[in-house]
């Protein structure tokens, strides 16, 4: 049976693991996530030594390389504060796959300990911060794409929509087959580009059909994929990381 997750009380400090995609392509989303946490009175520690969780190598089968990269992240969080990650897929990697990756090695206990402190950002904002949001934006109809890792691996299909429901001026519409993958899948999009393209094409059509003017997501892989497809077709629908959306409309 799926264990009931028990959340800690709101801590004084948290670690923030920004993820490589945010670091390189969507840094504002990371900073907005940090601002949301700080506004809740939490001190955010951003270890400058962080790089990537190692997932691209892991899902490609290069586990020795993934382990080395993961190892370089394990020592970044020496104190017992929660580790907040603005991505379902990277938090899934760290929470679920770090213990598997280090099983039987001398770092197994450390990997498990770190994994136990990993929280996805919307999960943390909702369940730990009990975030209240005062929407100052214009009325707007938006769609949300929850990443497959957030939805299935992390069991967080509802955290994003629940936060958005607290935004007074935002109407969240659900696209057809909302739970279906957008076709990103990391290296999948490169190894099977045509299949991936067919998937993202269906996803953009489904979002467009809702009449939403914008979509948000909690994963920058999906964002890059879906927004990249919209832009390629010169469609006006813009995409945004949910952290930026929440910060922008409530600050």
């Amino acid at each position: 049976m799926t264990p009931v997750k028990l959340y800690p009380p709101k801590p004084e400090k948290v670690y923030f693991f920004g993820t490589c995609l945010i670091d390189l392509f969507y840094p504002d989303a990371g900073l907005d996530g940090i601002r949301l946490l700080e506004r809740e009175g939490i001190e955010v520690i951003f270890p400058q030594g962080q790089t990537c969780c190692g997932q691209p190598a892991y899902t490609s089968g290069y586990h020795d390389e993934a382990r080395a990269v993961a190892m370089a992240q394990l020592d970044l969080f020496p104190e017992s504060w929660p580790i907040v990650v603005p991505s379902g897929s990277c938090s899934g990697m760290m929470r679920t796959h770090y213990p598997q990756l280090f099983a039987g090695t001398e770092h197994e206990a450390q990997a498990k300990e770190v994994a136990g402190r990993i929280f996805e950002l919307t999960e943390f904002l909702l369940h730990v911060c009990q975030l209240r949001l005062e929407d100052r934006g214009q009325p707007e109809k938006i769609a949300m794409h929850t990443s497959c890792s957030a939805r299935r691996e992390m069991g967080l299909g509802e955290t994003g929509p629940t936060l958005l429901a607290r935004m007074g001026q935002v109407e969240l519409v659900e696209q057809a087959r909302a739970a279906e993958c957008c076709g990103f899948g990391g290296t999948f999009a490169v190894r099977h580009p045509e299949v991936s393209a067919a998937m993202v094409e269906d996803k953009t059509q489904a979002i467009e059909a809702t009449g939403a003017t914008r979509f948000v997501t909690s994963d920058c892989g999906c964002l890059m994929n879906i927004a990249g497809r919209f832009e390629h077709q010169d469609k006006a629908i813009e995409g945004e990381h949910i952290a930026s959306y929440l910060w922008r409309r409530t600050s």
Binding site: M1, G18, I22, D23, F25, Y26, P27, D28, G30, L31, I34, F46, Q48, G49, T51, G54, A57, Y58, T59, S60, G61, Y62, H63, D64, E65, A68, V69, M71, A72, C148, S149, R151, R152, E153, A179, E180, C181, F184, G185, G186, T187, F188, A189, V190, R191, H192, P193, E194, V195, S196, A197, A198, M199, E201, M224, N225, G228, R229, E231, H232
Partner: protein
């Protein structure tokens, strides 16, 4: 010639990319699969709506795991109890041996015509072709299999073999191959097929079926079906041969109802199937019907190799419901034939590499976005995404090396690229400098990134990395706090 007939071709996993390209460009295939998979997903969701599905899946998984934990012992008990019931048991190391055993049974009875119930294991070993070479005609009696056989194709789905065909295409096939009128009347076509098959049942010398669950403690073979052709196949001809993989054994009769409940709901969204057959012996003295001989052929075909590995072992839990393919966004778009294997979709991608080797099937484990939909719906909780990753490891030579063809995908170039990634991601100073440099040179970032930019705009590196933004943010904050 009709369009359905033109589509006749052979498929191979080696050509996955080309076959995927063709399928993606075929609106008929796309529409047929999308419609069918949407329907199947909806039916499954509805039929489980008032069940405690997670508890039932846990139960299903534990029954299968217990059976696998005792597999060698259970197979011996199955053999002993089947023999005590009068069922003759044969063991086959591989498909060829199983074909030979079945051919010899047929030849012993001077059989010329064989009628077949649905059996994926018989597809796996290409039984029909083998029998044909020996001058024995094997006719498929499952309606979908019958259509696929008429159309000289292979099944595109393990439960619904003809799911790639729509009504018009079926009408064409029935017209071209059996001479009936062209029609869109499904009942008429079904009745015609029924009449055509009925004669063949009566004339068949041997009936060949698969097995869904083989019960060790009672020596009972369970067969799940909807059309009654399974019962006809196993009851009308004088000889019945059941063929199955060694993993289909369960320990107790009481293990069957939970697995059956999961199987029918996961597969077709049915509470029960129209028929559930429990075959426990040949015709007994004084009985008026039933086959005079019943044989059980247990096929290994790489399964005991899978069994040796404590992770890969989970592959053998499968009860062949097809829910993983119904929910797979890749399968839904490329269809079953694209995979070029007997078992398509996620289960095929974790099973076929063991049967055909990774050299043939190396594109299958990567043909998944690891979205997890397959693992989420699997009634026996096979961790399919984890097993796909495990096979990717084997492909690139970083696994345990115990899958045929391990290491076949490793190239010096790709391995070096991942070593480069490793170096950069374990040297934070270099990483930060790299990110800063990428930001400065963003105007030079390529707008063409291979296949990515054929369908999407290329992402541009940000002017400042998050590392830099955070530093600035922290400095500003410190400044604000210093002010009185």
């Amino acid at each position: 010639m009709s369009s359905a007939r033109e589509s006749v071709q052979t498929y191979t996993p080696r050509e996955f990319h080309r076959q995927a390209h063709d399928a993606l460009g075929n609106p008929q295939i796309r529409a047929n699969f999308r419609r069918a998979m949407d329907g199947l997903m909806g039916k499954r969701r509805d039929v489980f709506s008032d069940w405690d599905l997670e508890t039932l899946r846990e139960l299903g998984a534990s029954i299968r795991l217990r059976a696998l934990a005792k597999l060698p012992d259970l197979l011996e008990r199955l053999e002993a109890n089947c023999q005590a019931n009068g069922i003759q048991v044969h063991w086959a190391e591989n498909g060829d041996e199983a074909c030979r055993i079945i051919r010899e049974i047929c030849q012993r009875h001077d059989a010329k015509a064989v009628i077949k119930g649905k059996s994926m294991v018989s597809e796996e070993m290409h039984l029909n072709a083998h029998l044909e070479e020996a001058g024995i005609v094997a006719l498929e009696s499952d309606l979908g299999e019958y259509l696929v056989q008429l159309n000289e194709q292979t099944p595109s789905h393990i439960i619904m073999p003809a799911i790639h065909l729509n009504t018009d295409e079926i009408s064409d096939i029935m017209h071209d191959k059996t001479g009936i009128e062209r029609t869109r009347d499904v009942d008429y076509m079904t009745a015609a097929a029924r009449a055509q098959l009925r004669e063949r049942f009566m004339a068949a010398d041997v009936g060949i079926s698969g097995v869904n669950f083989a019960v060790a403690e009672t020596g009972t073979l369970c067969l799940v079906e909807n059309e009654g052709n399974g019962r006809m196949t196993t009851a009308v001809p004088p000889v019945h041969v059941a063929v199955t993989g060694i993993e289909k054994v369960v320990e107790h009769l009481r293990d069957v109802p939970p697995l059956y409940a999961l199987l029918t709901r996961s597969a077709t969204g049915q509470h029960v199937t129209t028929y559930f057959n429990m075959i426990s012996s040949p015709r007994k003295p004084g009985e008026h019907d039933g086959p005079k001989e019943v044989h059980l052929v247990l096929v290994d075909s790489g399964r005991s190799n899978i069994y040796q590995d404590n992770e890969l072992l989970d592959t053998l839990r499968c009860i062949r419901c097809g829910a993983c393919m119904n929910h797979c966004p890749v399968y839904t778009r490329v269809g079953g034939h694209t995979y070029g294997t007997t078992y398509p979709g996620p289960i095929g991608s974790i099973l076929m590499p063991h049967m055909m080797g990774l050299e043939e099937t190396k594109d299958l484990p990567t043909a998944s976005s690891l979205c997890g939909a397959c693992g989420e719906v699997c009634p026996v909780k096979i961790p399919i995404p984890d097993l796909l990753v495990r096979l990717r490891r084997e492909s690139v030579g970083e696994g345990r090396g115990n899958v045929p063809g391990a290491g076949v995908k490793r190239t010096r170039k790709e391995a070096a690229a991942w070593k480069g990634f490793q170096w950069l991601a374990t040297h934070p100073t270099a990483w930060r400098s790299g990110a800063a440099l990428a930001g400065k040179l963003r105007a030079l970032a390529p707008s063409k990134l291979g296949p990515w930019t054929e369908y999407r705009t290329a992402p541009k590196p940000a002017k400042k990395s998050l590392h830099e933004l955070v530093k600035r943010h922290q400095a500003e904050k410190a400044k604000r706090e210093e002010r009185p």
